[in-house]
Every structure is written in C-alpha cells, then in structure tokens.
C-alpha cells in the first residue's frame, strides 16, 4: 500500500488502488526483417533497407524468418509461456507508416500464451500473451511544431517497416508505478539475456505502453482504463503511471467518469494528454493472412530452443549472491534456486550497495567475469566491486574481455603486486584496446611492483614529515593509517600498494 499511497491525495484516505498492465514491444535482434531479406539495422540512411515486400508493392509475397520465430519461442520459454501453434492475421488500417495498409500480426492464435514473470522482490506478474508482428515505418512530422498536431506534411522512412517485433502483454497485475518499473526492468533484462533484444528504450527498440485504471480498493471491479503511449524511459513510465492514476482519482472524486482513451505522455509537461482522434474504436477488419501458413512448433523444436537458452537474470543474480555467501564456483556446476531473489529475505549478508552491484553486473551481462575471477581465487566482493564499478563503465568492451586476463589482473591486486589505482588504470587500458596481457600493460605503464625497500623509504619519509599524526597513530588512532596511505600515494602518484603501506606502518609502530 505504500506505493499506492504516494499517488493518492491525503484526504482520499489512501483508499484508491492503482491497476497497471503493460504492453511491451521489443524489436528482435535478427539479421533480416520478419518477412523479407532486407537488413534489420537501426540508424542507417533512410529507405536503404527496403524491397517490394516491406514497401507493400503489388505481387510481393512474405516469407517468415525462422530466427524471428525462434527468438519469439525463446521469449515464451523465458516467460514460462505455453508455446502453441499460431497463425498470422492482417490488421487493416490506413496510415502512411504501413505501406501495405495492413500490418501482419498474430491475433487470436499467438505463439506464446499464459506465462508469468517474477519480479526480483518475488511477486509474479501474469503474462497473457507474447506474439509476433511486424514493425511499422518511421514517420517524421514536418512543420512548425515538429509534432503530429499542426504538422504540414509527414516524411516516411521504411527501413523499420517489417522489422520483427514481439509484443508482450502482461495481465493487469501491477499495483504501483514501482512495480510497473520493476516489471519493465526485469523484462528488459530477460529479453537481453535471451539474445532477443538490445533493450534500448531510447532508440525505440523496446517500447512500453501502460494501461492504467483505479478502483476503490483491492477486490473491487476494475475501473475504466486509459492506455498511455510515448514512454521512452523507465523514468517516464513511472511518472506517467503516477500522473495518470492521480488524474483518474481526481475525476472520480469530483463525480466525473474516466473515458476509455489513448493518451500520450508529455515528458516536458509531466502530464498525459488525449490525442484528438475522430474514431476511438478502430475497426481493423482482421482476417487470416492468406499468404502465410500456420507456424506449428513441435516439441523437439521447442526443447531445442529452450536448451539453447542460457541462464536467466534471476538465476544469475542468485549465483552471485551465493558467491558472496562463500560458494566456490566449479566448472559445470548447477545454478542455485532462482526463486531466491537478490532482495528476497533469503539473501542475508548482501548489503544494499552489493545488491545494486549485482543488478548492474547481471543487467550488463558481466556476471561471467565475476564468476571467472572468483573461480581464479579473487575474493567475491572485490571481483563484484571491480566489475560493477570499473568494468561496467565500458560494458560493451567489458563483455568481450577475456575472463582469464581479467582474473590475472584482479589477482595482481589481491597479491599486492599492483595497487587498486594501478589495477583500475590497466583495466581501462584493457577496455580501450579490446584486450591485452595485464602483465605487459603494467610493464608498459611503468607499474613495476614497487620494491619493498623503496616502499619502506617512502613510508618512513611520510612518518618523519608528520610526527604529530604518527604519535596519534602509534597510540591507537587506527584511522590515521589512511592519512599515511594518502601521503604515500601522493608521493608515489598512486603506485604504492595500500595494503603494503599499512603493513609497513604496523611494523614501524611495533618497533
């Protein structure tokens, strides 16, 4: 109730309950479009990946992309759906983003139905369906405002026309904007882990529409819903859902009714607006696409797609939790129970900061580096911190890092051969060069391990230069150790090993 309470005016007594369902469209990471061999590429020159099929020229015929079907099945498997025989329909409408004047989509027989997604907190959100369809072309509105309303004409690029999409429709199971964001975040992580999507909301390869309604309390009949479009980030999703619930509550409390309609989120204004539209209820005249035959996945095919699926984010997070708890990874070991979410109560000993690190590392697909480093003897907390805080700054390069080189580098920090500062510098070299030998890179940077004798001299100089601090340290003020480490680091420009400095201080104090 706490999340719901946030959107409810004080005098409403927190009685209203928000109900949210999400429709997520994800573009699939295929080489080609859904029904033709044109390249599926974002950001190229307009109208360079078009052919008679995706331009809707007369006489052209669609042929279904096998990889797109398999990615849809992978998504269905990851979302615990039933994978079924399916058909394609034509959804007829006139709009210049669709040159055929219909969109080919799955209608009453989608490939995936009846699944669920588990939020990291443990709650399960129902998945009604996840079906295949084609994307539309991209329109830009010319004119003074640059928006649809007031535009003088529109310009169309058909590179995106026919790009494969999967639309994932949740049940109306979410009860707060926090849950809606958690669902979208987890779904995005799953889609990335499946290899189905790059999950880039800002580039439009993952698009979220929210159905929002409010009701007087749990168990009451659902209220009239509005569909919110134009949510380009998780932040927009959260803000828009809260705004819309608030708007509906205000309407109902002043005795008005909510009108079922599609509304656009205006990020700048922070509100949803109904678009002027002549007919609210569209008549799409769906009928079976006569140019395509049914897709009937047999059990062997479904099993093969499932077997090719790597471990999903929930399992991978649980594995990192287990590593922090002292588990030692072994080759080919099974994964721990994925139902142990990272913020479930069953994860004692994981701090908030570590939970964030785990989420980051798995989201970026860098957990393999952590597992490899721990298997190579690096303490789990160090491996996790270096991966989440340093490697993650260039996740693209980090994802292709050789785990062996990464383990060697962190091992040099553990052994005290390199300081933390030096390890971070060499890691940035590895990321910038797309790999390399950490030992060679350390030599190239002049990061020879600081000889013990040299270190002893520098520590002695720091102590001599700060006699008052030294006395306080020697008399038991341990935090001053960090002061001396700082002095030594300054003198050596970060080349000293912090642990070695502390060890030398302790030795001097005992003298």
């Amino acid at each position: 109730m706490t999340d719901v309470g946030r959107v409810v005016p004080e005098d409403a007594g927190g009685a209203w309950e928000m109900v949210v369902g999400l429709e997520v469209h994800t573009e699939l990471r295929t080489a080609t479009k859904l029904f033709c061999g044109c390249a599926n590429l974002f950001g190229d020159e307009p109208n360079t990946h078009v052919c008679p099929v995706c331009l809707g020229l007369p006489g052209s015929l669609p042929v279904l992309n096998q990889r797109a079907v398999e990615l849809a099945m992978a998504i269905g498997t990851a979302l615990h759906c039933e994978i079924r025989p399916s058909t394609f329909h034509r959804k007829n409408y006139f709009y210049p983003d669709m040159p055929k004047d219909y969109q080919i989509s799955q209608y009453d027989e989608p490939i995936n139905v009846s699944g669920w997604l588990q939020l990291p907190g443990g709650r399960r959100i129902g998945i009604e369906r996840a079906h295949l369809e084609e994307d539309t072309g991209k329109t830009a509105h010319a004119g003074s405002s640059g928006r649809i309303q007031g535009a003088e004409y529109s310009l169309v690029d058909y590179n995106r026309s026919g790009v494969p999409l999967v639309e994932i429709v949740s049940a109306p199971d979410m009860r707060s904007s926090t849950e809606a964001r958690a669902y979208a975040t987890e779904l995005r992580a799953i889609l990335i882990a499946c290899g189905a999507s790059d999950g880039k909301m800002e580039e439009g390869s993952m698009r979220v529409d929210a159905n929002v309604s409010v009701r007087p309390g749990p168990g009451a009949p659902f209220g009239t819903r509005c569909e919110i479009k134009n949510l380009n980030s998780l932040r927009s999703l959260g803000r828009a859902v809260d705004y819309e619930a608030q708007r509906q509550i205000a309407l109902l409390e002043s005795g008005d009714a909510v009108v079922q309609q599609t509304r656009h989120w205006d990020e700048g204004e922070g509100r949803t607006v109904a678009l002027r539209s002549k007919e609210e209820a569209y008549d799409y005249r769906y009928f079976l696409e006569p140019d395509l035959v049914p897709v009937v996945p047999d059990p062997a095919w479904i099993t093969a797609v499932g077997a090719a699926l790597g471990p999903l984010p929930a399992e991978r997070r649980a594995r990192l939790v287990a590593l922090l708890a002292g588990a030692v990874p072994a080759v080919g070991e099974g994964f721990p129970d994925p139902d142990v979410g990272v913020d479930a109560e069953g994860s004692p000993g994981v701090s908030d900061a570590e939970r964030e690190q785990i989420l980051t590392v798995v989201d970026l697909g860098l957990d393999g580096l952590v597992v490899a480093a721990v298997a190579g003897g690096v303490p789990a907390r160090l491996a996790l911190a270096r991966t989440a805080n340093e490697a993650a700054t260039d996740a693209g390069a980090a994802a292709s890092l050789d785990p062996g080189a990464y383990t060697t580098l962190l091992g040099m920090e553990v052994a005290g051969t390199l300081s933390a500062t030096q390890v971070k510098a060499i890691l940035s070299d590895l990321l910038a060069h797309g790999g390399g030998d950490p030992v060679e890179l350390a030599r190239a940077r002049g990061f020879e391990a600081m000889a013990d004798a040299a270190l002893v001299t520098v520590v002695r100089e720091a102590v001599d230069a700060h006699p008052a601090e030294w006395v306080r340290y020697r008399d038991g003020e341990e935090k001053l150790a960090q002061f001396f480490v700082g002095q030594v680091m300054k003198a050596t420009r970060g080349q000293a090993n912090g642990k070695g400095v502390v060890a030398e201080l302790e030795r001097l104090a005992r003298e």
Binding site: G37, I148, L155, V296
Partner: protein, 99 residues
C-alpha cells in the same frame, strides 16, 4: 432479410477509403449479399469432426533462413514516389494518431 444493409456497405467502404456513388452502393449491397449467401451455404454444412484449418493448403512452417538479401536501389525506389524530401517519402498531413 438481406444479409447486409446499404449502411453497412457504406461503413465498410468508408473504412477502405472508397468513395461510392448511390448506384454503386446499391449494386455492391446486392453483390455482397450474394457472396454472403454463398458463405451461409458453406456455413450450413455439418462440419462436426472436421478439424479447423487456417489455410487452403495443408502446409505449416514455411520458413526462410535469417540471411540478408540485397535491398532495392534507393534512387529507383524514390523515383516511384509521388513526392520526396530528404530521401524520405513525403506524404500529406496526418490527422490523428497512428491507430
């Protein structure tokens, strides 16, 4: 009773962006009625036990490998467009939102 009314034909014509004259509305109402009569004949057959089909041919899983093929030349494509600007198709102002 007729299987389809003149108003229904006018509605469907509107959805298909067809502008029909009164004579044409009359004629198509009659023709579409005949088509629907035929469909009704088929629908009246006893098909209990006959599995439902989604296509005239008993074929499933017609798929192609995910391999790129050359696209059309852009110059050639845009030459067929009624209007072009910045290598995009220029189309009339769009009222309302995409459905």
């Amino acid at each position: 009773m007729a299987r389809i009314t003149r108003d229904e034909v006018a509605h469907v014509a509107g959805l298909a962006r067809l502008r029909l004259t009164d004579d044409e509305l009359e004629r198509f109402t009659e023709q579409l009625g005949t088509v629907l009569d035929h469909a009704a004949d088929v629908a009246s057959l006893d098909l209990a036990g006959v599995p439902r089909t989604a296509h005239a041919m008993a074929v499933t899983n017609v798929l192609r490998p995910d391999e790129p093929r050359p696209s059309l030349d852009r110059e050639e494509v845009l030459r067929s467009a009624p209007a072009v600007e910045a290598n995009r198709f220029r189309v009339p102002r769009i009222l309302g939102d995409a459905p």
